[in-house]
Amino acid sequence: MSGAALIRVRQLEREYRMDAEIVQALRGVSTEIRPNEYVAIMGPSGSGKSTLMNLIGCLDTPTAGEYWLNGVEVSQMDDDELARVRNREIGFVFQTFNLLPRASALHNVELPLIYAGVRASIRRERAVTALQRVGLADRMGHKPSELSGGQRQRVAIARGLVNQPSILLADEPTGNLDSATSGEIMSVFDELHRQGQTIVMVTHERDIAARAHRVITLLDGAIHSDTMREAA
């Protein structure tokens, strides 16, 4: 494939200081992810997959190494620049949904647009469209507590999509859902990928990872394997 890499990481390292001890969460990870890839990051707990996820999502900065997102080096950015990148380039979907409990589904989806400075009328229109895309047009006024787990995760996906991000980052998106609902949510991801969305998903469930076209396995803070499925 000749397309420029959307994500390019070089020798990415991340250390955590726990009291006197230094924990090496990532020990030099290098990889590239191209537009419209559907990548699953696997690995046992403690393998560094959450750390990698946070770095790719610009929630955290590496101790060493480079991270180029869409041709821009983000590894040296400060707090506010990172916030801007998160707002424009990245849509998050979390295991625990991370919706604001007091806000309606619609307002939750509007949040990224508020921080992007989008006008109220356009904001609403785009939030409604995003909720329609995940099949929740009829639940817009509901608060998260009035929604089922699957519906909450759909709201979170709509929120992740509303800014038309370069990457949709999902961290164990089915971890808190039963298997039937998990299937529904995975179908939503499949559909989004078919529409051209780049997706990076952290999971430890093999059958969930099997939906992705590429599986990166981490072990002890380094890439253990990186397999591309022929079908992709």
């Binding site: 929630l59 955290d60 916030a83 801007r84 998050f92 991370n98 604001l100 007091r102 508020i114």
Partner: protein
């Protein structure tokens, strides 16, 4: 985040935590209420002093010559008091000479005061009885409502005629026409020839319980030693004329008393401006103490708000993490919490203003103390509220803004 969003959000949070919000602003509320109530009452007193008290004490462009000051600022030391009591009194000759020495157009009048029993048939009252000369009513700006004032001839001859205050007329005569009727003052018969229009009251004390008789009429012997008056009143036609007249009177009195240049006056010259000066001093003291009292409660109020905001930041750590993950910058979070804290305190201040005005209104209605709203105090109240809110919110908001999104979202 646009300011409008921040305000909407802040209102939601404040409304969702009503009880907590109320307790958070109680300090600011009390401080501002106190400020408004005190300023409103002091302002009312101020207006009252200028319009009523000073006007009744002495009208515009009017001054008085007396043995010692009638209106005193602060405490008088026993020594001063003794010196005053040793001073010579103002004699008829002093009063005549002083009046004659005035070089500008002016009216003058004598005044001697005593308290006396006044009776009509079976009714009687103890009131202020004034011995005065014919221009007294004009100098005092009193209007004769019924009948007439006494003439210079009646003063010279010491005729037993009397002009009474409206309250006295009502008390002694009820529905009868007082004119021409005979009353007794300390048992001396006097004929009522006039009634003075009502002067209202000061702090609940009626200003209409008096009787004015000619200075040389029989009552004079109860008021003062022979050939002595309490006061010479001088009413000029402009402030400048009053200054000139005052200087004239001062010069002639000093010469009559043979005072050397180094010696102080052995008499007092007072004008309404002097009384207002005295009130101004009280006023200044109140306005010097007030900011201290208000700021104590505002500081306490600010600390309470800061603590509530710190609690709020701790409770909403996860929310802050989520917002940051969605692209909120430090300044967005900072603004969100600052607006919340400022709005909270301003609402507290607004309620304080309402209650302060209510307190002032109640005081106005239930006591003789008047109240007058000072618009600036409301502006100050609102600004103080917002200021305290911003100051108290700064630290909690900056802590919230600096939270690490990954750490924050991990919190339950």
């Amino acid at each position: 985040m646009p300011l409008r969003e921040a305000f909407r959000l802040a209102l939601q949070v404040i409304w969702a935590n009503k009880m907590k919000s109320i307790f958070a602003v109680i300090g600011v509320f009390i401080g501002v209420m106190f400020l408004i109530a005190v300023v409103t009452i002091v302002q009312g007193m101020n207006r009252y002093m200028t319009d009523q008290v000073a006007g009744n004490f002495l009208g515009a462009n009017t001054f008085q010559l007396r043995r010692y000051p009638d209106f005193n600022a602060g405490n008088i030391s026993p020594d001063t008091w003794r010196e005053w009591r040793r001073r010579p009194r103002i004699t008829y000759d002093d009063a005549r000479a002083a009046a004659a020495a005035i070089t500008v157009p002016a009216s003058t009048a004598w005044e001697s005061n005593t308290s006396a029993e006044v009776a009509y048939r079976d009714k009687s009252a103890r009131i202020r009885v004034i011995g005065a000369t014919e221009d007294y009513f004009e100098v005092r700006n009193w209007t004769i409502e019924f009948g007439r004032a006494f003439s210079s001839q009646e003063v010279r001859n010491g005729q037993p005629v009397v002009v009474i205050g409206s309250e006295v007329a009502e008390g002694l005569f009820e529905n009868l026409d007082p004119l021409g009727r005979e009353i007794t003052i300390r048992g001396l018969p006097y004929r009522v020839i006039g009634v003075v229009e009502s002067q209202g009251n000061i702090f609940g004390f009626s200003l209409d319980e008096f009787a004015v008789a000619p200075a040389l009429s029989p009552v004079k012997r109860f008021a003062n030693p022979p050939r002595v008056v309490d006061v010479l009143l001088v009413k000029a036609q402009s402030p400048e004329d009053m200054q000139t007249a005052m200087a004239d009177v001062e010069a002639v009195m000093r010469s009559r008393r043979h005072l050397r240049p180094a010696q102080d006056n052995s008499f007092a010259l007072e004008s309404a401006a002097g009384v207002l000066d005295f009130w101004g001093q009280i006023n200044r003291i109140m306005f010097a103490v007030l900011p201290g009292l208000v700021s104590i409660s505002l500081v306490v109020g600010g600390i309470v708000i800061m603590n509530i905001m710190l609690m709020s930041v701790a409770e909403r750590t996860r929310e802050i993490g989520i917002r940051k993950s969605l692209g909120a910058r430090r300044r967005d979070i900072l603004r969100q919490f600052l607006v919340e804290s400022a709005l909270l305190a301003t609402l507290g201040a607004a309620i304080g203003i309402g209650f302060g005005l209510a307190v002032a209104a109640i005081v106005d209605m239930t006591t003789p103390l008047p109240a007058s709203v000072a618009p600036w105090s409301i502006v100050v109240g609102v600004l103080l509220g917002a200021g305290v809110g911003i100051a108290a919110g700064l630290y909690p908001a900056s802590r919230a803004a600096r939270l690490d999104p990954v750490e924050a979202m991990r919190q339950e």
